[in-house]
């Protein structure tokens, strides 16, 4: 296995390496951890914010890299499958925003509860579902996490409440802020600010684009959402704040999405390709982490490339499964509408069609 990987990595990296040097790489010593400086967060109604330096261990670094790379490749694969019409319907991709989902997960416990809107694939993965289940749900097969009935926007897992097709929630969020602050609920409200609401830039949609201040009486912080370490530290800070019983807190993650709002949106009619290219070359989250790790001797370029290869393979397998898995049977159409015992009949498109509803 290692030899095969080595061979593949050699081909991919185009570097001629003798087997002997391969052994060298394996025994090369890396640093155990490194300290990094991270950007200071803007604060609203807070005296102090998250720390400006953080320690990243090699193990964590590799794990984050793998997760971010998995999310990235998974989204790109979803893009490919959508263009092949194997995925239909709606598909909102989050490539570019990997640091948000992986960084968030790094800052909370698996027993904490998470709920999000429709750009949910990354969170579904970080919350514990496998790529297979996610891709199969996107293609609408029975191997999917919601048995193929939910699709892109309705993926659920333990302590992960979706995946929701939320629109028009501007009023609702203020009601939620009010209740959370009134009853001091331990809730972190997170805004992944990717600068555009569908096709409208934030400057044209919001009277105040300082979203971290919009909680008004709720304290907030603005975080660089392209730097995973920044996100992690901010999340740890926010989680500690909530757990201490002080009530809710708001976190604005400044991030960017490379794709359009959804697959039906080319993503270039309201922004320039240059802008996308600039973000990709200067602030890509995976690239940032990789540079940091390599420069502080936490990992080698080859090692990270190996991870790339493994991830690619995993995604390929998952896509294969997602394409080949059978669709849920038609009988499932009527299931789980109600919790019902005994099962009852659901009327169909005309009076002579009936489905059985089981739950």
């Amino acid at each position: 296995m290692r030899k095969m990987l080595a061979a593949v990595s050699r081909v991919l990296s185009g570097v001629a390496q003798k087997p002997a040097s391969r052994v060298l790489v394996a025994s090369r010593s890396f640093a155990n951890d490194a300290t990094f400086e991270i950007k200071k967060c803007d604060l609203h109604r807070l005296e102090e914010g998250p720390p400006v330096t953080t320690v990243l261990t090699r193990e964590d670094g590799l794990r984050y890299y793998r997760m971010m790379q998995t999310v990235r490749r998974m989204e790109l694969k979803a893009d490919q499958l959508y263009k092949q019409k194997i995925i239909r319907g709606f598909c909102h991709l989050c490539d570019g925003q990997e640091a948000c989902c992986v960084g968030l997960e790094a800052g909370i416990n698996p027993t904490d509860h998470l709920i999000t809107a429709y750009r949910a694939h990354g969170f579904t993965f970080t919350r514990g579902l496998s790529v297979r289940e996610i891709l199969a749900e996107l293609t609408g097969r029975r191997g999917g996490c919601a048995k193929g009935k939910g699709g892109s926007m309705h993926m659920y897992a333990k302590n992960f409440y979706g995946g929701n097709g939320i629109v028009g929630a501007q009023g609702q969020i203020f009601e939620a802020y009010n209740m959370a602050a009134l009853w001091k609920l331990p809730c972190i409200f997170i805004c992944e600010n990717n600068r555009y609401g569908m096709g409208t830039s934030v400057e044209r949609a919001a009277a105040s684009t300082d979203y971290y201040k919009r909680g008004d009486f709720i304290p907030g912080l603005r975080v660089d959402g392209m730097d995973i370490l920044c996100v992690r530290e901010a999340t740890r800070f926010a989680a500690a704040y909530c757990r201490s019983g002080k009530g809710p807190i708001l976190m604005e993650l400044q991030t960017y999405r490379y794709h359009g709002h959804s697959m039906s949106d080319p993503g270039v009619s309201y922004r320039t390709r240059e802008e996308i290219q600039e973000v990709r070359s200067k602030s890509d989250p995976i690239m940032l982490l990789k540079d940091r790790m390599v420069n502080s001797n936490l990992a080698s370029v080859e090692e990270l490339k190996e991870i790339d290869v493994e991830v690619r393979k995993e995604i390929e397998d998952a896509a294969q499964f997602a394409t080949a898995d059978p669709e849920p049977p038609l009988e499932e159409l009527g299931h789980h509408i109600y919790s019902s015992d005994p099962p009852f009949e659901v009327r169909g498109a005309n009076q002579w069609i009936k489905f059985k509803s089981i739950s």
């Binding site: 919601a146 659920y156 897992a157 509408i337 109600y338 009076q351 739950s359």
Partner: protein
């Protein structure tokens, strides 16, 4: 023009005469008698005071559930909530003003008994109330939300229809908010006007995934509410507000359940089937006795009870179903003996005619029992207008309108 000027002058005088919002009668002012007078002024008060359009008919005292107590509708609701909170440690009640007892006294005493963690007020946000309720229900606790008037349920419509109703379905049964129950006062009350009289059951009937229930009496209310709370689907429980005090009955003190999605045949008959729910059941009961007395027509009276999923079988069997088809349906034992085939159906509700729930019943019954119908199905409902204030007695489908429709059906 001159007339308009004259009236304007009189109005000015009237305003001068009756400052402070208390209109005074103008004798000989030439205005139509009774114009611009408060409803309770003077010896004409009897003429003006609105008589309720129905007479509440209590059911006989139920003997199978143990000791009973005289309760009106809001006390029956309090009793049901009391039983729920006692039985289920995760049950919580919340809504606007529920802490002091509620604007209709449905939650009196519960906060003192169970604590402020279990009976608490929410801010003024129906959408937030239902959204919050859905969240609690998803975590597994029993959430009993109160919307102060059914007319105010519309900000929460999105949460109910798009979130609550679809939670189980869209997550493939992984999550659900089945332990959510929403209670709201419902229906006309004599003086409610546009925003305190609505019957929005038809809006929710169009949404698979939730259950909508309307009781007709205190005994029914307690049993149905307890069933809704225990039901594993999100339920909306509409309480006819005009019955809160007007309906008094013997109601068991202990908890008991009345099954959902089962209509009740209150009175058997052979000529016409009358279907209604909530307050209107008492109206059609009176219509049934009028029909018996004046026309010699025997009416079958059905209280639908659950709006969705509704009991198609009972209504169809009553309105007319060929005997052979009965084998396909499950029959309760006493219904099996009395296969009633009236062939005529009248459905009545306060909500506006167009798109009201009577249209669904009518459509389904004609699909299932077309050849057995002797006359077109009659719907006696409110007009297609917003619920009026002054015109309420004209608006509601009272017993005379129902009687008239029944007569036309008989003579068809």
């Amino acid at each position: 023009m001159a007339v308009a000027a004259a009236i304007a002058c009189r109005l000015l005088r009237l305003r001068a005469a009756g400052a402070g919002g208390h209109w005074r009668r103008l004798r000989g002012a030439g205005l139509p008698r009774g114009f611009l007078q408060p409803a309770s002024a003077g010896e004409d008060a009897a003429q003006w005071r609105r008589v309720a359009h129905f007479t509440f008919q209590p059911d006989p005292e139920p003997l199978e559930y143990g000791q009973t107590q005289k309760m009106n509708l809001f006390q029956a609701v309090t009793s049901a909530l009391d039983n729920s909170l006692a039985k289920d440690p995760t049950a919580v009640i919340f809504g606007e003003d529920v802490a002091f007892g509620g604007v209709f006294r449905c939650t009196v005493g519960l906060r003192d008994k169970y604590g402020k963690d279990r009976v608490f007020n929410t801010p003024l946000c129906e959408q937030g109330i239902v959204g919050f309720g859905i969240g609690i229900a998803v975590t597994g606790a029993t959430a009993i939300a109160e919307i102060q008037f059914a007319d105010y349920i519309f900000p929460a419509f999105d949460q109910i229809v798009n979130e609550a109703a679809k939670y189980r379905y869209r997550s493939g049964d992984l999550f659900n908010c089945g332990s959510l129950t929403i209670r709201a006062p419902w229906g006309c009350v004599g003086h409610g006007a546009v925003y305190h009289s609505q019957s929005p059951e038809a809006f929710f009937a169009h949404c698979p995934g939730i259950k909508v229930v309307v009781p007709r009496s205190p005994f029914q209310a307690k049993g149905l509410l307890l069933s809704c709370i225990e039901d594993k689907n999100p339920c909306i429980f509409f309480e006819p507000k005009i019955l809160y005090r007007a309906a008094v009955e013997q109601v068991p003190v202990e908890p008991y359940n009345i099954p959902l999605s089962q209509a009740e045949v209150i009175q058997e008959g052979s000529d016409v089937t009358l279907v209604a729910w909530g307050t209107q059941v008492h109206v059609i009961r009176e219509v049934a006795s009028m029909a018996q007395e004046k026309l010699g027509v025997s009416c079958e009276v059905i209280d639908l009870r659950t709006i969705i999923p509704w009991d198609v079988d009972t209504v169809c069997k009553s309105a007319g179903l060929e005997t052979e088809n009965l084998k396909m349906l499950t029959l309760s034992s006493w219904e099996r003996q009395s296969v009633i085939k009236t062939g005529r159906l009248l459905v009545s509700h306060e909500a506006p005619l167009t798109g009201g729930f009577a249209s669904e019943i009518s459509s389904t019954v004609q699909e299932e029992c077309f050849l057995n119908l002797e006359a077109p199905i009659s719907r006696v409902c409110g007009y297609d207008t917003p619920f009026p204030h002054v015109f309420e007695p004209f608006y509601i489908p009272d017993k005379w309108k129902c009687y008239d429709a029944l007569r036309k059906m008989i003579n068809y």
